[in-house]
């Protein structure tokens, strides 16, 4: 098995120096996700305003793949409109579930293409998806709250 296909330099770089790590204020939603089979966990906060992902902050415990994935994910979604960020999430999910058959789109996924090799290691796909799933969950909650707030202020 080719270890280098899994552990691309980009992944190891993000693992050693994760971007946007740590929990920050302000935030509209905070979630805690775990991978029950291995114990990896992430606490993740999302700050959304004006329909844009303003910040994603997190505290993650886990392997190089799950840590690097959280770092890459924050690079990709921070500053993007929620709908566009959700689209990036879909693209990453499709890559991870593609059993190594999906050609990654560098335009959309940038450093995320380094995870293409992970899709060939079924046991590690969940590691790569942990923070993405947490982000989607938190963002859905934050957007829900956002709408509620707007409705309340309008009413």
């Amino acid at each position: 098995m080719d270890l280098d296909a899994l552990y691309q330099e980009i992944i190891l770089d993000h693992y050693k120096n994760p971007h946007h790590a740590g929990l920050r204020d302000p935030f509209e939603a905070e979630v805690h996700h775990v991978n029950p089979t291995c114990g990896d966990e992430v606490t993740l906060r999302v700050h959304v305003s004006d329909g844009v992902v303003q910040d994603v902050s997190y505290d993650a415990l886990g392997c190089s793949i799950s840590q690097a994935s959280a770092s890459v994910m924050t690079d990709l979604v921070i500053g993007k409109p929620v709908a566009e960020a959700m689209g990036i999430h879909e693209t990453f999910l499709a890559l991870m579930q593609g059993r190594g058959q999906v050609e990654p789109d560098e335009e959309v996924l940038e450093d995320g293409i380094a995870f293409a090799g992970v899709a060939r290691f079924p046991a590690r796909v969940k590691c790569a998806l942990l923070s993405w799933m947490a982000w989607k969950d938190a963002t859905a909650q934050a957007v829900g709250d956002d709408i509620t707030t707007k409705e309340t202020s309008n009413g």
């Binding site: 270890l3 114990g39 990896d40 415990l61 590690r124």
Partner: protein, 417 residues
């Protein structure tokens, strides 16, 4: 090296899977036996032979195959009884696995009967249990209003029994603990704890999942009232486990699952139940799995559990020595091989257990990474997850060398060396 099984190379030939090579042409180095053990040819052949020549349901079929199948199934019970020195074959109940055996006990204790656990009663377990010996007791105490209490652990990975007289009191109904920890490797003083439990009239449940594969088991000497283990860790198949219990205890527990073969008679008004062990064996049992388990414990008895134990201790001592040479590596649990079993969990600073396991796997070395179904024990030592190497009767010193080299390679791969 002293203590190794004689004819180790011949013994290895009994296990066909050990001849396998993996991706990249690497020979298999199987160090995940605490997870599940590999199977000798005799177990595989016995199961195939049963399916090819003797297959029929047990105790229900009035024909020659039915008689042969029943005989093979019940012979397996005799073999297991002899393997654990049970005073009576009727005290050996076949279950699906150790988890089901423990759940059988924890469930039936909730129901009306002389041993029923209720409000104000206490159940005592330990912080080093496998989730299988935690969750059933959490369910029991939540359902009945009883209180769950935990023996703590010392910093060197032993059970902290300094407060035993406060932990086990006249309120204690059940004390349930593992004989050998699947994470720390610790061998617990089961008989000593059982003595105190019996003073206050509590019953003692022992999880022998890790003990039965590597220690000679004498259920009476152990002090247990009930003892559980699983087939697949004692070179047997999956799908078959064992609950042993003292006759007077099993007799006092109500039935667990209702169904075929566990009854004496059934009318529309009510049913009466079979005696032990059949009272606890509703439905068609895992027949060929039981037959395979019989062959497995015969294989172990032929090697001699004293010899298997000596082999494990020699290999574990060698592994502890080798692991101590890896920079940044910390073993969880006792460092003296004479006080522990063959499962050695460790942390490698700077490399997550998943990544350790992945790098080792790329070299054909199979270990386990994660929490090993022992999250409270990990939390006790402030560890989120660990890597675990676990040897067995077929493990060679050369395989330990491969592990140590693999760990050095993992460090260099992640640029720590």
């Amino acid at each position: 090296m002293d203590g190794l099984l004689p004819d180790l190379e011949l013994i290895r030939k009994d296990f066909p899977i050990l001849q396998r090579t993996l991706a990249g042409g690497h020979p298999l180095v199987y160090l995940d036996s605490a997870n599940t053990s590999q199977k000798p040819q005799v177990v595989i052949d016995t199961m195939v032979d049963h399916l090819e020549r003797h297959n029929a349901n047990v105790a229900r079929a009035m024909h020659q195959l039915g008689a042969e199948s029943s005989e093979a199934f019940e012979a397996a019970r005799d073999k297991v009884a002899s393997f654990i020195k049970a005073p009576s074959r009727d005290e050996v109940v076949f279950t699906k696995n150790a988890s089901e055996a423990l759940n059988l006990v924890a469930n039936t204790l909730a129901w009306k009967g002389p041993l029923q656990v209720g409000e104000g009663d206490e159940v005592v377990i330990t912080e080093m249990e496998h989730h299988s010996n935690i969750v059933p007791w959490q369910l029991l105490t939540e359902r009945t209003g009883a209180t769950l209490r935990w023996f703590g652990l010392t910093d060197d990975g032993h059970l902290d029994t300094s407060n035993i007289d406060d932990m086990i009191t006249e309120r204690t109904k059940v004390v349930s603990l593992t004989w050998v920890s699947n994470m720390l490797g610790t061998v617990n003083p089961v008989a000593e704890i059982a003595r105190r439990a019996h003073e206050v009239g509590a019953i003692v449940v022992v999880d022998a999942s890790q003990a039965a594969p590597q220690l000679p088991v004498d259920v009476v000497a152990s002090g247990a009232d009930l003892l559980a283990f699983t087939g697949h860790k004692v070179v047997g198949p999956t799908g078959i486990g064992v609950l042993w219990g003292k006759r007077e205890v099993l007799d006092q527990l109500p039935p667990f699952l209702g169904g075929g073969e566990m009854i004496e008679t059934v009318t529309m008004a009510r049913s009466t139940y079979a005696g032990i062990p059949h009272k606890f064996e509703a439905g068609t049992p895992p027949i060929v799995e039981a037959v395979g388990l019989g062959a497995a414990v015969d294989y172990l008895s032929h090697l001699g559990m004293e010899n298997v134990h000596a082999h494990e201790q020699a290999i574990t001592a060698y592994a502890l020595e080798g692991l101590a040479t890896v920079p940044g590596l910390t073993v969880l649990g006792p460092l003296d091989a004479t006080q522990r079993g063959g499962a050695v969990a460790f942390e490698l600073e700077g490399v997550h257990p998943h990544d350790v396991a992945q790098v080792l796997d790329s070299r054909g070395i199979a270990v386990r990474a994660g929490h090993h179904c022992a999250k409270p024990a990990h939390a006790r030592f402030g560890v989120q997850s660990s890597t675990r190497a676990s040897s067995y009767l077929y493990t060679t010193p050369a395989e330990i060398d491969a592990l140590v080299e693999g760990l050095e390679y993992a460090r260099s791969y992640f640029k720590l060396a």
